[in-house]
Structures are given as C-alpha cells and as structure tokens.
Symmetry: C2
Subunit: 209 residues, 2 copies
Amino acid sequence: MFIHFICFRGGIVIGARDRNNDKYHRILEASVKVFADHGFHQSTVSQIAREAGVADGTIYLYFKNKEDILVQIFNYKTTQIFERFREVVDSAENPVEKLRNLIRRHLQEFQQDRNLAVVYLAETRQINRVMEDQIKVMSKMYFDLVAEILEQGQQDGHFRKALYLGLVKRHILGSVDEVISTWLHADGEYDLVSMADPLVDLFINGIGT
Amino acid sequence: MFIHFICFRGGIVIGARDRNNDKYHRILEASVKVFADHGFHQSTVSQIAREAGVADGTIYLYFKNKEDILVQIFNYKTTQIFERFREVVDSAENPVEKLRNLIRRHLQEFQQDRNLAVVYLAETRQINRVMEDQIKVMSKMYFDLVAEILEQGQQDGHFRKALYLGLVKRHILGSVDEVISTWLHADGEYDLVSMADPLVDLFINGIGT
DNA sequence: AAATAAAATGAATGTTCATTCATTTTATTT
DNA sequence: AAATAAAATGAATGAACATTCATTTTATTT
C-alpha cells in the first residue's frame, strides 16, 4: 500500500512531502488530458511534458515510468471520488435514495471531468495488463458500496430477496458505464446527470408491466 | 461499404475472391489471438505473422496495415454474429423470449470465442480512434435490434409504455458487456450463459419489490 | 556570498517495430 | 518444359519514442 506514495529520484527514494509539490499534480492532470486525447499507448512522454510545461526528464523525477503515471492517476483520482461517493451514500436515509445518490454522483463526477472518464472507461476494459490487479481493487470498492446498499434494501423490504447480488452489482455498474460511454461518444452534447433518475427507475422497476 | 471488401497488393487493388483464401482467415484468427493476449498496440506484426505461420510481409498482401487487420476483424466477425442474433430473435414469438434469446446468444458467442470478447470489449471503449465510426455503426445494429424488440413489447403490453428507449438500449447492452467483462477478468471460470436468465429477470422486473 | 544540495533540463542513446521491396518460390499458361 | 504471372518471403530501412544522464539552474545552508 505504502509503495504507492513513494517515488524515486536517481534511485533514491524520496518521501511523500513531494506529493504536495504542484509539479506532481501538473503532470498528473496533463497526463489525463493527453491520455484522453490519444490513448495511453499513443501518448508520448514528450507530449505530457509539453502539456505540463516541464522537461521530459522531469517526469521521471516524479514517476517511475510512463505506466506509473497511469497507476498514479487511478490511485489519486479513485481515492478522491470514492470519498465523495461514500458521503452521498451516507447522507441518504433509505436504500433507494442511497442508490440514486450514488448513481447521480457517479455521473456528475465524470461529466465534470470528461478526460478522466475517457481514460477510466478505456483502461478498465483492458485485460492482461499490469494495471489489472489495481483495477480489480477499485471495482471491488464500487461493488462493495453497491452491495452494502442492496443488502440493506433487502432487509428493510425495498428490494426483493431473490436476487443474485453478484450479478446485480455488475448489472448496475455496467449500465452506468455504458451510459457514460455513449455520452462520451456523443461529445457530451447533453446533460449526463439527467440520466440518473430514469436509470434508477430501470434498476428498481425494470421494463416489464 | 465496398471499401471493406477490398485489399491491396503492391498498390494494386485485388478483388474479393482472395477472401476465400485461407491465409486471409488464418491471419485474422491469429490476430484475434495476439490482440487478445497483448492488446492491439503492444501486438507486433511479427507476432501475428508467427502465430499465423506466414512471413511478416505476407500480412501486407492481405491487409493495408496493422489497423486494417482490426477493422477487418470487426467487420467479418460482427457480420457473422449479427446474422445469428437475427436468427434467434426471429425464432422467438414474443418479445420477452426474443430478448432472452438475444442475450443468451450474445453470451454464448463470446463464451465460445473468448479472444474475440477480449478484443471486442477493449476496443469498443476506445475514443478518438479511426475505428470509432465503425464501432458506432456496429453498436447501432445492436441497438436497432433491441429497439425493435422493445417497441414490439410495448405494443403488445409486455413492456411498459413509459420507457426512455434510448436509455433502455444502453442499459441492456452495458449490463451484458459488464457481465462478459467480469467473466473475462475471472478467466472464464464459470458458465457465462447461465447469467442470461437472471439478467433478463433483472431487465424485466428490476430489483424492487 | 561561498559552498552545497536539490531540482530541472533536454540532447543523446538504444531499442523496438511497422513497413518496404528485391529476391525466391509456387502456380498457371503457352 | 519454357515462359510468365502470382504469391510469399524476410532482411533491411527508417522513424518513433521511452529512458538516461551530464550539465545547468534554482534553493538552502554555512
């Protein structure tokens, strides 16, 4: 765990205080933009450096290598986003509203940071990557949050008992991700967050009569 | 449309008869495997050639360039798969069964050809690519098929009228894709097709009581 | 204000790989 | 069985690019 908060310089480990350095964040944000525009593998370190306004070599003072930038993006952003997910889930008092808040916030986050959405959606669907384990951990966080809501909803009778919870979790996340993906492909021409209520309606009531 | 059925040799266009050549298909299948194992951008033409048992240069007798291989994979495979989707949808007599058949077949196809599933899921989530338009066309085929089922179901009272169809289509496809994705990440250790019925249940009845 | 340390630079390096094409092999025609 | 055409080969080419590191710039300490 701690390894994520350590970076290297000339083979010497330097501490987390550098995390406060704005150059680290400048590079992170620049990378999100460049990765979103060109995809991870077509992005060059020089492009990132130019976008961040630093020299190519400077990148390697803050990141082990190109892939480490992606790892750091996921770590940093996911941590932040999940804190906000937690907040809105906890602020609702019944499971239906918890689910609605979660999904609304989920859409909000990605509408707010379109580049992150592009990177996130593209990279979470890659198999056989060094990232894979990290992605699993992050998915699990989301799934656990949904599971918590679902179980609570089953107990207090909002949701029916005969549910294959493992499947319901995938069903919800997949549905939301696809809605985000379509929005991205449409160049964000409409309000993504407005999809939240109709989506929750589908989750809860289905399409049947 | 026709452009997809033409390939080049030394700058001279040769006809579709070469499509019957087994080398074309050998290269296609080899590419699916290599792309699945390493991802498109990390795959080298030499790897594909080795896997297909041909020389590097031979690839360029059948494909314009590396990306063209990916385009051809999508064209060829998608056409085939959609024919079978059409079949199973038409063979059912009511909308609920049509939907169930579609989803079951969808899962079947990808369970049968795991490598294709890997390539398909990874590449459909890429934005800003030459592929993008082609992917839109393919998604549209799927969406149109689902729309047809949904509208029919609304007319004969199986599905409720107050549905945002555009959203329902994304909801269904996204859910199915995520289920496939999870199965892939789990190394295909369980039967994917068995998810079909529980999924359809979720689509139709939702999770509410 | 020297001296030392830390941070940043960007040109140079070495590797990787898509693509080409001169040559060889195989198939078809005369 | 020549002659011609088509298909296939794989070594060579050259461009792209991640990473390194000798040097310079900036900050801190004595």
